[in-house]
């Protein structure tokens, strides 16, 4: 029964979304309100139907309805209750359902917010969003149906991919997809602006907060993905330049570029063509990422199963890119800049440089990701490029971006005077140089790390200096301490939200630089009672224990860890054996610290428990990545508060 109901809801949703998109177009074309109302009702109906799909899937998961193929593949009777819920989006079909559901919610919010406020843009925005929803519902109907029937009904299911049995399975996909789908809103507004020819700053002002929200969730999704990789995969790192990571990173890079270049358009009415191209690119890259990870054309740790879905995604991606860039070409005459770059030493050109470097990073990541395809097409050889390529090319790019991050917010618009440069940058530059010199004296020899740390101090100093000056100015005009400090943040929330986001990025940058440079590791085999020492820690192997969990067997080791500072804990890394997996799954154990993490992975072991091979890592400053995520959150929250400034 469930499969039939679910399938009916999917098909109805597709028909409704498509007809709603058409109705909205007619409404926009003729200006007749009843057509628009039809489109709106369709948007509500689509949300209801996708919600019904989700409810049906949940019911099927909770009742072990193995007549649904998707349920049979992603659970078995041993799957714990909690993971039967998250299994909903644990594989291809369900992930599309989650995606569509979020998109339908965004569409409803757009309906509620803009139906009265933006009468001209709104019909086209609605039709673009419903059109995109129709595509995802089409995917749910034909190439990736979540409600496909399985006959004969197996007595038990296969079970969820064990790597997905983690709390990160709630937060990571949800954050990531909120980011991905969020970019649909600015994209839809950009398309609407092109269609009706209102290519001014309007669509940018309207969608600024949407873009920040999508950008923030994407950043959060990436960080949580890194956390998942770090504490579940057990290889000791958080980023591997895997195609699936790159797929999410690329739209984040172009969105970052977009967030900065729109400020130039708002202020100076330049870069119109550029901004439209960036938002098209960002939206296109979210589709590309989905295509990449689900079409199976490139090997990745995320092995979503494949099928004809790749053809659907590539066709839609082609339609979106060719359609929107053609629209752009058609409106080219209205996209002239209304002012010019006055000087190379100005905020405009700093932002432009920042954009060029962000795009350079996007391009290298793209190039590295599709390189296996390229090399097979051109030379007939399967080759892929790994972390060394990405690191080599991207580290200088990101260091430059750090530098620009310090310069951009404080350099003057149009043309910076020597006075402006000296006032804002002399002290921070000195602070950066002194910091790097001090680190050098303390024995840090790695040039890249010195550069990164110096730049972080430089940027932080610009922010602190600017904030301190503003507070002092407020104090002089008679404000109390709290009004001058906290009040300033709220009054100029957009500016200081941005600064706090920058601080968050700096904290993440410190984490990346520190962990790359200073982490140490060792691999060794220990007899029972034997110890190994690393980075001031002594780890002793105390024994092994076997246990049977609901859906897997587990061998757990006991290791006591002592450090010179009378610090004594037990770590219990293990290995899990799932019947449906050929290789055992590592269960890492760790103690996180502000400065360093102790991270222990159990490898091979003797069956009688007399011997164990371990990988021990002391990972420095990795926690700063997660800390940076919290700072980002505060900054983004501040930045999306309503803008208190008077429009310029």
């Amino acid at each position: 029964m469930i499969p039939e109901l679910g399938y009916a809801a999917t098909v109805a949703g597709f028909v409704l979304a498509l007809s709603g998109a058409v109705a909205a177009v007619v409404g926009g074309w003729t200006g007749r309100a009843e057509w628009l109302r039809t489109g709106e009702r369709a948007a509500i109906g689509v949300w209801v139907l996708i919600t019904v799909c989700i409810a049906l899937m949940l019911y099927a998961f909770l009742t072990f309805d193995f007549s649904v193929r998707y349920v049979a593949i992603n659970t078995n009777r041993g799957t714990p209750f909690y993971y039967r819920i998250t299994a909903l989006w644990g594989a291809l079909e369900g992930s599309i359902v989650l995606w569509s559901w979020m998109l339908s919610i965004y569409t409803l919010i757009v309906v509620v917010q803009y139906r009265r406020r933006q009468p001209e843009l709104y019909p086209w925005v609605l039709s673009v969003m419903l059109g995109i929803l129709a595509f995802f519902l089409l995917v749910m109907t034909i190439p990736a149906p979540p409600f496909e029937r399985l006959t004969p009904i197996p007595p038990d299911g296969r079970g969820l991919n064990p790597l997905l049995e983690d709390s990160g399975m709630i937060t990571h996909p949800v954050a990531l997809y909120l980011g991905f789908t969020g970019f649909t809103v600015p994209f839809a507004f950009a398309m609407a602006a092109l269609i009706i020819g209102r290519t001014g700053e309007e669509w940018i002002t309207i969608t600024r907060r949407w873009t920040i929200i999508a950008w923030y969730f994407l950043a959060l999704g990436l960080l949580i993905g890194g956390w998942w990789s770090y504490h579940v995969l057990g290889w000791g790192g958080y980023w591997a330049w895997d195609p699936v990571e790159n797929a999410a990173f690329m739209p984040w890079l172009t969105a970052t570029a977009f967030l900065h270049s729109v400020m130039v358009q708002e202020r100076r009415r330049m870069l119109k063509l550029w901004n439209l191209s960036l938002i098209i690119l960002t939206f296109g890259l979210t589709l590309f990422g989905t295509f990449l990870t689900r079409s199976g054309i490139i090997g990745s740790v995320h092995s979503f199963t494949q099928g004809s879905i790749g053809v659907f995604f590539l066709s839609f991606l082609s339609l979106v890119l060719l359609g929107s860039f053609s629209l752009l070409a058609w409106r080219m005459d209205r996209l002239r800049a209304e002012s010019q770059l006055d000087s190379v030493v100005s905020r405009e050109s700093t932002f432009l440089l920042n954009n060029l470097f962000l795009l350079a990073a996007t391009f290298t990541v793209f190039f590295g990701t599709v390189f296996p395809l390229l090399s097979e097409a051109v030379r007939g050889v399967k080759v892929s490029v790994g972390a060394p390529f990405f690191n080599l090319v991207n580290i200088p790019v990101f260091l430059t971006l750090l530098f620009l991050m310090g310069v951009g917010p404080l350099i003057a618009w149009r043309r910076a005077s020597a006075q402006n440069l000296k006032r804002n940058f002399l002290k921070p530059v000195l602070a950066g140089i002194v910091a790097a010199a001090v680190l050098r004296l303390f024995g840090v020899a790695n040039v890249l790390v010195l550069a990164a740390m110096g730049l972080v101090i430089f940027v932080s100093a610009t922010i602190v200096l600017d904030y301190a000056r503003a507070v002092r100015a407020r104090r002089r005009s008679g404000e109390g301490w709290s009004a001058a400090t906290w009040g300033l943040l709220l009054r100029q929330n957009r500016r200081y939200g941005g600064f706090i986001v920058h601080l968050g990025v700096l904290v993440v940058a410190l984490g990346v630089a520190g962990s790359q440079a200073w982490s140490v590791q060792t691999e060794t085999t220990l007899e029972k009672g034997q110890s190994v020492e690393l980075g001031g820690y002594r780890v002793r192997f105390d024994g092994l224990e076997a246990s049977e969990e609901s859906n897997h067997g587990k061998v757990t080791g006991t290791f006591s860890v002592t450090s010179g500072r009378h610090w004594d804990v037990m770590l219990h890394p293990g290995r899990k054996f799932y019947p449906q997996e050929q290789t055992p799954i590592a269960a890492v154990d760790y103690r996180l610290g502000f400065i360093e993490d102790v991270y222990l992975v159990l490898g091979d072991f003797a069956r009688d428990g007399s011997q164990a091979t371990i990988k021990l890592q002391v990972n420095r400053m990795v926690s700063w990545l997660w800390l940076g995520g919290f700072v980002l959150t505060i900054g983004a929250a501040l930045a999306i508060l309503p803008d208190h400034r008077k429009p310029a």
Binding site: P152, D156, G296, L314, Q580
Partner: protein, 177 residues
């Protein structure tokens, strides 16, 4: 500015990228040839679910289709099971032997699987997993085609179809003994 004339270059610039991605459909990143191809198949000797012995040595001179499966392998093993049985029925009088090897399974569930599909060719559990390790089985189902001289000649990963089985078996049967 000459932007006007160049405007259509913007959408056109997308085309090579789309072409490259389309090309991707004709490649398979997971298709890595098995190092076992052309080498002598690893010997095994197991007890079938019916209690009889089965060993590769005893099948010398026949073309062998060795199918690795498991009852928890949903849905691929379920998808291919009827095709495996059909292949066995079609070829059993032509000098072909089909052998199923059940890996990492519970006996009860495995017997249910066999009963459901009415398999009539010998099936044996691989209790220590040694045979699947010898053959480098990564995920079920995987099917190996072994020629009359006991060499692994083809390997198929994923659900088997009648067509694939026929193609490989016909090729091996055509070879002189």
């Amino acid at each position: 500015m000459t932007l006007r004339g160049l405007r259509w270059a913007i959408p056109a610039a997308v085309l090579p990228v789309l072409a490259l991605l389309t090309y991707g459909f004709w490649t398979d990143p997971k298709e890595i040839p098995s190092p076992l191809l052309g080498r002598p198949a690893a010997a095994f000797s197991l007890a079938t679910f019916d209690g009889g012995p089965i060993s590769l040595e005893g099948l010398r001179g026949k073309v062998v289709m060795l199918n690795f499966w498991a009852s928890w392998c949903v849905p691929a093993c379920y998808d291919e099971a009827p095709a495996v049985e059909r292949t066995w029925r079609a070829y059993k009088n032509q000098g072909v032997m089909v052998v199923g090897i059940d890996i990492q399974d519970k006996e009860e569930a495995a017997r249910q699987f066999l009963a459901r599909f009415g398999h009539t060719f010998p099936n044996a559990p691989d209790p220590r997993g040694r045979v699947s390790v010898d053959y480098g089985v990564y995920g079920v189902p995987e099917t190996f085609f072994i020629d009359r001289n006991g060499r692994v000649r083809f390997k198929h990963v994923g659900a088997l179809t009648d067509e694939i089985a026929r193609r490989h078996l016909d090729a091996l049967l055509k070879e002189p003994a």
